[in-house]
């Protein structure tokens, strides 16, 4: 029989955090599932249970479907480009150094690492604001730079106002802010690979690019998978960035995301039931995305099983 001292200890130490967690995290998520099946406006005391009506309505809501498509585009492009860039930088600063002597990165690698990590420490909303200014048609530094180096047609080009460039420009901002963080993550993973493997590859005459693709990538594939999922979750939300760059969804809704739609529907239009249904769709899409990444990694021969051997 445990002592009173121990019982009180466990009760307090576990009880308080768990209570906070249940009230502010678990309970809201549970409520959300129920709200999504009501027509609640948030301001009336009563509401009706409408079953799956909100969801059928969603799939005929052009704005929301457009937002869903934008999110899917983001989820395909952003993680891929970010990971390729981060892997390239990570390879160079860890094993891309001179081919004689110990396996190491090129000179000055710690400088590059520190610099590229830097955006991760800046609030996302501030990153969005900075880039909104960089992209500014007349006062922005980007157009000024392009004009200065002799390119014409960029004097007043509205990067975020043109339907052709609004999305790619927004994507670039997100990629820019995450490359450094994932570089650091990959550097850590690559350092976990025994350097004998790289020495063997080097003696067999494999170049740096082949080493990165054929040796590094397969050996750290679980880290890459984690990175893919985290980035996917981030861009399926993407609220902060898009809100800072184009608060109203961009030209022809080309940059509107589900999260922005949800926020407006809930807090501007007061359709809380409908907005929660959007949240459920967002959650389902996120889970599907993670499942697809897991499946691809699994069926191409990755997964924990193989690495534990």
């Amino acid at each position: 029989m445990p002592s009173l001292d121990r019982l009180s200890f466990i009760a307090v130490f576990l009880g308080v955090p768990v209570a906070v967690y249940v009230i502010f995290v678990i309970y809201p998520f549970g409520r959300a599932l129920y709200f999504s099946m009501t027509d609640w406006s948030g301001f009336t005391p009563t509401y009706n249970f409408v079953g799956l009506d909100n969801f059928t309505k969603l799939f005929h809501d052009d704005t929301f479907m457009r937002a869903l498509r934008n999110n899917l585009e983001l989820a395909i492009v952003v993680p891929f480009v970010t990971i390729v860039l981060a892997l390239a930088i990570a390879s160079i600063v860890t094993v891309g150094g001179p081919r004689r002597g110990p396996v190491r990165g090129i000179r000055g690698s710690s400088f590059y690492r520190v610099v590229s990590f830097f955006p991760y420490t800046v609030p996302a909303i501030v990153i969005g604001l900075i880039w909104a200014q960089v992209y500014d048609p007349s006062a922005g530094i980007l157009n000024a730079f392009l004009t200065k180096i002799g390119l014409s047609g960029f004097q007043d080009f509205a990067w975020l106002g043109d339907p052709r460039t609004a999305m790619p420009a927004s994507m670039f901002v997100i990629i820019w802010s995450f490359v450094g963080f994932y570089t650091v993550l990959f550097v850590a993973a690559i350092k976990g690979v025994p350097s004998e493997i790289y020495e063997a590859a080097r003696m067999d005459g494999a170049g740096r690019f082949r080493t990165a693709v054929l040796i590094t990538l397969p050996l750290i594939r679980d880290t890459v998978q984690t990175a893919y999922i985290y980035l996917g979750i981030t861009v399926l939300d993407a609220f902060v960035y898009m809100q800072a760059l184009n608060p109203n969804g961009g030209p022809n809704n080309t940059t509107r995301t589900m999260s922005q739609d949800l926020f407006n529907t809930a807090f501007r239009k007061g359709q809380f039931g409908y907005a929660t249904a959007m949240g459920v769709v967002l959650a389902v899409v996120t889970l599907l995305f993670a499942a697809i990444v897991f499946a691809i990694n699994h069926f191409t021969g990755g997964g924990e099983r193989r690495l534990r051997r």
Binding site: F13, G101, I141, L282, A283
Partner: protein
Amino acid sequence: MTAVTPDERVVAENRGTWASGDRTVEATSHVFLAIWSIIVIVPFLWVVLSSFKTTKEILASPFSLPAHWSFDNYVHAWTDAGIRKFFLNTVIVVGVALVLVMLLGAMCSYVLARFVFPGARFIYYAMIAGLTFPIFLAIVPLFFILKNGGLLNTLPGLIMVYVAFALPFTVFFLYSFFKTLPDEVYEAAVIDGAGDWRIFFQIMLPMARPGIAAVAIFNFLGLWNQFLLPVALNTDPNRYVLTQGMAEFASQAGYSVDFGALFAAVVITVVPVLVVYLIFQRRLEGSVSQGTFR
């Protein structure tokens, strides 16, 4: 570091063949990294430069240097634009939430990691599951929970929500940390007659300091940069946190924006975090490499 000095013989063999190719590849690598570094740094430098210019100068030419280097924009942003208020709110909210989440997270993960009792696994997994929920799904019900509890638009309400949403990450990380602490110290303390409370606060907590510091840094960054939660749950302009204040600037319609003050406000927001980053840079990257995100 896993770098191993290879056999001298191999080094000698490789020297002639690779030297010239090496230089080309190294040059290419440097160019690539240098370009990326410039893309990262230039926008920040530009913001700092612009923060000293008048709005008129900013709109006239993006590159030009300010005619007078003055801190007017900073004074203006700090006082008139309310950044001082937002800054104080942020320090209060993030400071209190950080202390609370570290304490509650350490308590919870300690019990889960060191004691065997029915339901421990279940609670642990329920906590970890929280890492994967999109906050967006919870935001509407959360709004009404705070409203019903009279906590909506108050700093304590925001603090509680911050604590709750930072808990899963904190527990996830500290759990594995408490698992690795040696049993001998604990047993020695028990033999010396120390109770559970004393063992935790006087022995285990100090021993876990490196892990706690690493998690605290990540939580600081995450909470300082939090945007969605305050925007939805803290709508009283007097209680805005910095990120909200910045968003206010952005949403002000076109012509009335005081760009000079905006750039100064950006610098004021970024500098504290940058200082924290530069001081703890090694530890931060070290804790990423300890497998936080795997």
